[in-house]
């Protein structure tokens, strides 16, 4: 294995600095005692106190977590089915359209999806609120879940299931007893990916929500529109902390390969 050259090291250093510096700045200034964002007024945790006692934000967080957890569960289930269909059945009537619909939401601008879902809910006369947000998120994140499951399913040795059949399992049972347990880490990554994507989403939620139901990103967004405040920094830091904690835990638990995190 050749050593990375100086140029390679510099590229990595520059790239990662670019990715992390703004986040570091954001985190550091969340501990700023001064109300002015650019002036360092000493260390203080007061904005955290303000953030967690901000009732509106806490409400938003509750909605967000609930929506993310439920939609991620739906997305993982649907995405897994879709992956099985795409990898195992492959050819059936309309498989081109199916594969298209499975890929398109990953690149489709969120505004477009938001508009179309809003119009559908309105046309069908469905009251908009947490339920419609959940449905929209499940649809949009199931495609990401499907990609994760697809890559895991494709790299699974087909002779494993053959071995199970050879030892007496009918095909469906062989799939359940052998393929499913071996996809467990992929289920975890698919769920976590769907969960964070849902937790993050602003645009789709804004279009599909109704009066009264606001997710955390929607609340943060309206705060940001008024300007930069240390309290928003504190809220952001908490969100980042949750995501990083989840990521590190899932990496330790399942050691997902880089490919299955976002396999394209």
């Amino acid at each position: 294995m050749p050593q990375p050259s100086l140029f390679n090291r510099l590229s990595i250093f520059a790239g990662l600095t670019f990715l992390y510096l703004p986040i570091v700045v954001l985190v550091v200034y969340s501990f700023n005692a001064s109300r002015l964002v650019t002036v360092w007024g000493g260390f203080s945790a007061q904005w955290y106190t303000a953030a967690i006692s901000n009732q509106s934000m806490v409400e938003g967080a509750k909605v967000s977590f609930l929506v993310a957890a439920i939609s991620a569960t739906f997305a993982t289930a649907l995405g897994s089915l879709a992956a099985i269909v795409a990898v195992r059945i492959r050819r059936f009537r309309g498989h081109h359209i199916f594969n298209g619909m499975l890929v398109a939401p990953m690149v489709m601008p969120e505004v477009v999806m938001g508009v179309s879902m809003l119009l559908m809910f309105v046309t069908l006369g469905i009251d908009r609120g947490p339920v419609t947000i959940t449905l929209a998120h499940a649809t949009f994140t199931m495609c990401f879940a499907a990609v994760v499951m697809q890559s895991r399913l494709a790299e699974l040795d087909p002779s494993l299931e053959e071995a199970a059949r050879d030892l007496g399992c009918p095909p469906f049972l062989a799939f359940i007893k052998v393929a499913v347990p071996n996809m467990a880490p992929a289920f975890v990554s698919a769920w976590l990916l769907s969960f964070t994507l849902s937790l993050d989403d602003l645009v789709l939620s804004s279009f599909t929500t109704g009066p009264g139901a606001s997710t955390l990103p929607m609340k943060v967004y309206s705060q940001i529109k008024f300007g930069v405040t240390p309290e928003v920094n504190a809220i952001s830091t908490i969100i980042l902390g949750v995501v990083v904690f989840g990521l590190v835990t899932s990496r330790i638990v399942s050691r997902p390969s880089a490919k299955s995190n976002l396999a394209v």
Partner: protein, 296 residues
């Protein structure tokens, strides 16, 4: 490997995800198309129904006025063009940053590779809104960047970056970068190292080996990365809304304003339909390329 599954179970298996996507993904687009042919009215929903029963007579009214209006307005045309321009330029910028980064990571030992790629993935998983917000405090006129430069004496007047196109580029490149890095990295790390050694053995310099072997082989990853970035950036809303100025109107924001501020749903739908028309070609290209990779 084809499995002999009972036919009924197979149909059911296909039907669940297929049905879900048809109802929640495909049908909404058809509705957008329908409503773009309607006209605005006061009330909820704020558009006229397309059809009406007059006795036993079904009358359908298709209104092409929205499209005529959108295509005739310079603001909309400009927004489409700006979006395409911003997407194209930021794709190129990202490629310039992402390729060396992905290449550098792929050249590390397998252990540090997976750690480094994890570091790239973390920001991708964390909230985009927050990452855009992080730049707001840096780029503002009284922000960190200007304070630092003023303090160092590099500039005497604060630079105006916030609410300009430059800020949009910074924000987009920053938030979408992992989407470009990951496919390129996946491609490079899967490539056979002995190919480069063979090229070196056959007399290529390090540079020549890169340009003649490594780079052509990584084009698949580059294409995937560009598609993953270019297509959604065209409709990007958050970055231009928070970092951009009034003079750089991108189409995602136009749709948002049309919907929430002007409440003109038919016109917003027409704008969306035209955006979809623009996106259809790259999306189809992306999808066929992707399915080719997965069958290969």
């Amino acid at each position: 490997m084809m499995q002999s599954k009972p036919n009924l179970g197979r149909h059911a298996l296909v039907l669940v995800p297929y049905g879900w996507l048809a109802v929640f993904f495909l049908m909404p687009f058809l509705l957008v198309l329908a409503i773009s042919l309607s006209s605005v009215r006061l009330g909820m929903p704020p558009y006229e129904p397309l059809y009406a029963w007059q006795g036993s007579l079904l009358s359908i009214r298709l209104n092409l006025e929205n499209f005529v209006f959108v295509l005739g307005e310079n603001t909309y045309l400009l927004a489409y063009l700006t979006s395409l321009k911003v997407a194209a330029i930021s794709t190129v910028l990202m490629l310039a940053i992402a390729y060396p980064l992905a290449y550098g990571i792929a050249s590390c030992s397998p252990g540090s590779r997976s750690f480094l790629i994890f570091l790239v993935i973390v920001p991708f998983w964390s909230s985009m809104l927050i990452r855009v917000y992080a730049w707001m405090s840096i780029l503002r006129n009284d922000g960190l960047l200007n304070s630092l430069l003023l303090h160092l004496g590099v500039i005497s007047e604060p630079l105006r970056i916030m609410n300009t196109e430059t800020a949009i580029y910074i924000g987009i490149v920053y938030t979408y970068l992992p989407f470009m890095v990951l496919p390129i990295y996946a491609n490079l790390s899967a490539s056979d190292r002995t190919l480069i050694e063979a090229a070196r053995d056959l007399g290529c310099s390090r540079m020549a080996a890169f340009w003649r072997v490594t780079f052509p082989l990584s084009l698949r990853g580059v294409a995937a990365g560009c598609a993953l970035v270019f297509i959604p950036v065209i409709g990007e809303f958050v970055v231009p809304d928070l970092l951009g100025g009034a003079d750089t109107q991108m189409i995602g924001r136009t749709i948002w304003i049309e919907f929430f501020n002007n409440r003109d749903w038919p016109v917003a739908s027409a704008v969306t339909v035209l955006l979809l028309v623009i996106l259809v070609i790259p999306i189809v290209l992306f999808q066929t390329r992707l399915s080719r990779t997965s069958t290969a």
